[in-house]
């Protein structure tokens, strides 16, 4: 059993090593940066996976591209801009804050605000309906007293 487990561990360790060799960074901060960047970018073949997650050949090529751009000293924004230039904003998981995306970004807040306004208006109206005139109140009081 022990040898079996050891075998499995060795098996997986090879994979991890292989991954490291392909994109080797000297600085751990760079490794983290690479991970964050590839998680922000969408794989175009399997669209619900990020570049970091996807095993598609294109995702691997794009990781290589990101790695190359990082090695050339490009900033995160520059790297993202390069990919957007070619593949469009579709590669971004997070839509940009541009005028054409304002509706997308602010619609939830707007809808909640509209909801709150509707609720407030409705509550006010209901409470208005319950308001009874002073004369009616006195009449009711009188009736109650008579019964007693």
């Amino acid at each position: 059993m022990k040898t079996f487990i050891t075998c499995i561990m060795i098996f997986f360790s090879v994979f991890i090593q292989a991954e490291d060799q392909r994109f080797s960074f000297s600085d751990p901060a760079q490794i983290e940066r690479f991970r964050e960047l590839t998680e922000e970018l969408r794989c175009l073949v399997c669209q619900n996976q990020s570049l970091a997650d996807s095993d598609a050949p294109l995702a691997n090529d794009l990781r290589k591209r990101v790695f190359g751009l990082m090695s050339n000293g490009k900033s995160d924004d520059q790297i993202i801009e390069e990919l957007v230039k070619v593949y469009g904003e579709f590669v971004l998981y997070r839509p940009r804050m541009t005028p054409q995306n304002y509706l997308l970004w602010f619609a939830p807040v707007l809808l909640v605000l509209i909801g709150i306004i509707i609720v407030v208006v409705m509550i006010r109206r209901r409470s208005e309906l319950v308001q009874v005139s002073q004369t009616d109140l006195e009449k009711a009081k009188q009736l109650l007293e008579e019964e007693q």
């Binding site: 669209q47 050949p57 294109l58 070619v86 579709f90």
Partner: protein, 177 residues
């Protein structure tokens, strides 16, 4: 006035359903290319058949042409190849190819067996030209005008119907510009 307010949620519901139905008819795999209207991205790669020669984006100027990204490992490309041969037979437009992430002998054999519709073919072994052109799934075909500007992109196999109804009219229009 009050009654209208009660109909509003229903109306809103139908508007949302309308959006959903519209979304159902769209193919989520079709990603609009930001390269349309822009100059062809630069590249220099060896040619597929004649290794010593090169193909570069400056070769793609002066006439309206199709640039087709294909590969032998791509089954859809096999289906499209017959249509490309038919288009080439009519000689109405120049066709260039980029053999994308392929093996050279496989690609040469493919052309020997099935015919070669291309005027020239670049060999993009690394797939880096593909990335520069925003290719995410072969086959993809670009229509390029006389100034070397990308005017249209077709993702997926071109059927004869696609050619007749979409691509050929675009090519004919661009040839008259």
């Amino acid at each position: 006035m009050k009654k209208i307010i009660y109909i509003l949620p229903l109306l809103l519901f139908f508007i949302i359903v309308g959006f959903f139905i519209n979304g159902l008819n769209k193919d989520p795999r079709l990603i609009p290319s930001p390269l349309i209207g822009k100059a062809a991205p630069e590249f220099i790669i060896p040619q597929l058949i004649d290794e010593g020669k090169q193909l570069q984006q400056t070769d793609l100027k002066g006439k309206v042409l199709l640039l087709n990204f294909w590969a032998t490992w791509c089954p859809t490309c096999r289906g499209e190849h017959d249509v490309l041969m038919e288009i080439a037979r009519h000689k109405s437009v120049a066709m260039y190819g980029i053999d994308y992430k392929d093996k050279r002998p496989d690609a040469i054999k493919w052309l020997e067996d099935l015919g070669n519709p291309y005027h020239a073919i670049g060999f993009d072994y690394e797939g880096s030209v593909g990335i520069d052109w925003g290719v995410y799934g072969t086959p993809e075909t670009f229509v390029i005008d006389k100034q070397g500007i990308i005017r249209y992109k077709h993702v997926g196999a071109i059927s004869w119907q696609d050619w007749k109804q979409i691509l050929e009219p675009i090519v004919l229009k661009l040839q008259q510009e």
